[in-house]
């Protein structure tokens, strides 16, 4: 009986706080994406030769965790199969946040572009019930910083 009650409380807490946190995070992501839109991040391997640029490695990383309610949903999904939307949004948030942090770092260096962007995803800790508890996403690339014309 107590177990069931605890489960319900955890689910409710997870749902409430999780939804709130996710909505707030998405709002912040969208706002910052608009602000950093002028600084493109490109996956191309060959940077422009002209004008002359300085190069610097920039990185951005995020560790995010899924809430209890979503983990529960994902566990149910495991029974029926299909898209696990609760994890999709988790990874989407982590990727976009990492890219934003990388761009922010590039901007503080005075870069105009980030080239050769790569993503790296790792599951950091195994959460309860052997599901992905939290993921780390790292985004890295080479920032092109224009040098004063010679």
């Amino acid at each position: 009986m107590y177990d069931l009650l605890l489960l319900l409380v955890l689910l409710a807490l997870g749902y409430g706080f999780g939804q709130y946190a996710e909505r707030r995070h998405y709002r912040s992501i969208v706002e910052r994406e608009a602000r950093l839109n002028a600084l493109p991040a490109i996956a191309s391997r060959y940077p422009p030769a002209e004008p002359h640029y300085q190069h610097a490695l920039v990185t951005g990383s995020t560790v995010v965790s899924v809430d209890y309610f979503k983990r529960f949903l994902a566990a149910l999904r495991n029974l029926f199969g299909g898209r696990v939307t609760s994890y999709e949004s988790l990874l989407d948030r982590a990727r976009r946040e990492s890219l934003l942090r990388m761009k922010q770092q590039a901007r503080t260096l005075g870069a105009v572009m980030v080239f050769n962007v790569k993503y790296e995803t790792a599951s950091i800790s195994k959460g309860a019930g052997k599901t992905i508890g939290s993921v780390e996403v790292l985004a890295y690339g080479t920032a092109l910083i224009p040098t004063p014309s010679r």
Binding site: K118, I124, S134, T142
Partner: protein, 104 residues
């Protein structure tokens, strides 16, 4: 020391190729952070402690790679790649590797 994940840099010629250099760092979180992370597993959201921890160990791994490159006499590391793996419960390994070169 120039560190970049690009394979070649326009306008810069690679004079000498010195092979692979690498750096790694394994870090564990202290108990306080683990407890906080446990709570976050219920509420969801970013684990700031872990983000910082991984950032620190990444910097350390990069420093080690840089030291190795300096030891072989390189002035740049190109084609840098990162890799993360969780080796055990509560510990993560960060591995950085790249090609040490001499640019003109």
């Amino acid at each position: 020391m120039l560190i970049s994940n690009m394979e070649l840099l326009p306008g810069r010629r690679v004079v000498e190729h010195l092979g692979l250099v690498q750096g790694s760092s394994v870090r564990a979180k202290h108990v306080g952070r683990d407890i906080m992370a446990g709570l976050k597993n219920i509420f969801g959201g970013e684990l700031k402690g872990y983000t910082e921890l991984l950032q620190e160990s990444r910097e350390e791994a990069m420093l080690r790679m840089q030291q190795q490159a300096e030891a072989v006499g390189a002035n740049a590391i190109l084609n840098v790649r990162f890799s993360t793996s969780s080796v055990a419960q509560g510990a993560a390994e960060i591995y950085v590797y790249g090609t040490a070169v001499v640019l003109e």
